[in-house]
Amino acid sequence: MGLATHLGPWLLGTVKNTSVNNPVLGQIRNVGPTVVSQSVSCSGSTLTASLVLPAGSQILGFTFLTTTTSAAATVAITVGGVAAVTATDVGTAAGLSNLQIATTGVSVCNNVGTTDVYVIATRSNTTLAGTMIVTYVVRNSDGSTVPSTYTA
């Protein structure tokens, strides 16, 4: 079982196009782009760890899986240089932490922009260790998921 790779957004549903005249359910476009995730290990002597998201992506959430605790240790995340998650305590207990999107990060999470972006997690100390997981939607580089020929 090997890895299979598809480059570009991948739409799933049962109806690709909408009938122009008198559309009824079953004849109306109902496809949506697939959700994927990337993860990166945050450990060792370097406080930062990064991954890259495709242009046009929409971030649905950040999760940090703490494997080595460190009291009051935090993780902050930037997307394309924009603060998406402010320093959040994830070091107190091992396990999953769903990280709250900061108000400054709403727009960049809604659409990361027209070029690929770095997502960088920064730990407050090197004792804390874990994995940052980013869940996102792959879309066109302009954030759209509808072909230009689509008729509403």
């Binding site: 079982m1 598809h6 480059l7 570009g8 957004p9 991948w10 739409l11 799933l12 549903g13 049962t14 109806v15 690709k16 559309p23 009824v24 359910l25 079953g26 109306i28 476009r29 109902n30 496809v31 949506g32 782009p33 697939t34 959700v35 929409q58 649905l60 959430g61 709250q100 999107i101 900061a102 108000t103 400054t104 990060g105 709403v106 727009s107 999470c109 809604n110 939607v137 066109n140 580089s141 998921t145 072909p147």
Partner: protein, 186 residues
Amino acid sequence: MPLATHLGPWLIGSAKNNPANVGATIVTQSTVVSYLATAANPQRVAILPAGSQILNVTFYLTTLWVPGVGDSAAFYLAKANSSVTIADFICESLYRGSSGAPPVQVVDRYTFCDGGNTSEWYTLATPDTPARAAIWANVGSTDLPIYFAAYGTQDGLNPTSNMSSGVGTVTITYAVRNPNGTISSY
């Protein structure tokens, strides 16, 4: 980098047959919404394929929503009555008491922009009633349209004003399955 489309559920795993370990792929539909979507004139934001399972609804608030003076801002998502065509907004009856069965809400009304925040992020909670949970678990054997509306309210329930501004994005995350809700392929 073109869009590629697959019609029907897409299963991923390493074993297709007994004991199968494949799972249905998760997808989203996302729509920009504005204050023009009112309780009397809601905006359709998605058409979910029959048999889908809703996993989450996310709201990206990107421009301040402004209700009437003294009101709180609220919005809701609702499914249309299956007996009504998509051109008719049955959601209207929920608030005006007109004839016709009210729609079943898929998420609760949700107040936001308290305190004058201009930018907030919300991931809506899971459904809090059995009726809503049933819709999330399986949208039904026919495609399901989802509608969005925003309004000002005094009691968190009844609309008392329309918004004068506001822009955001509603994203619905769901699993594509067979029309009967199964993902069995054997």
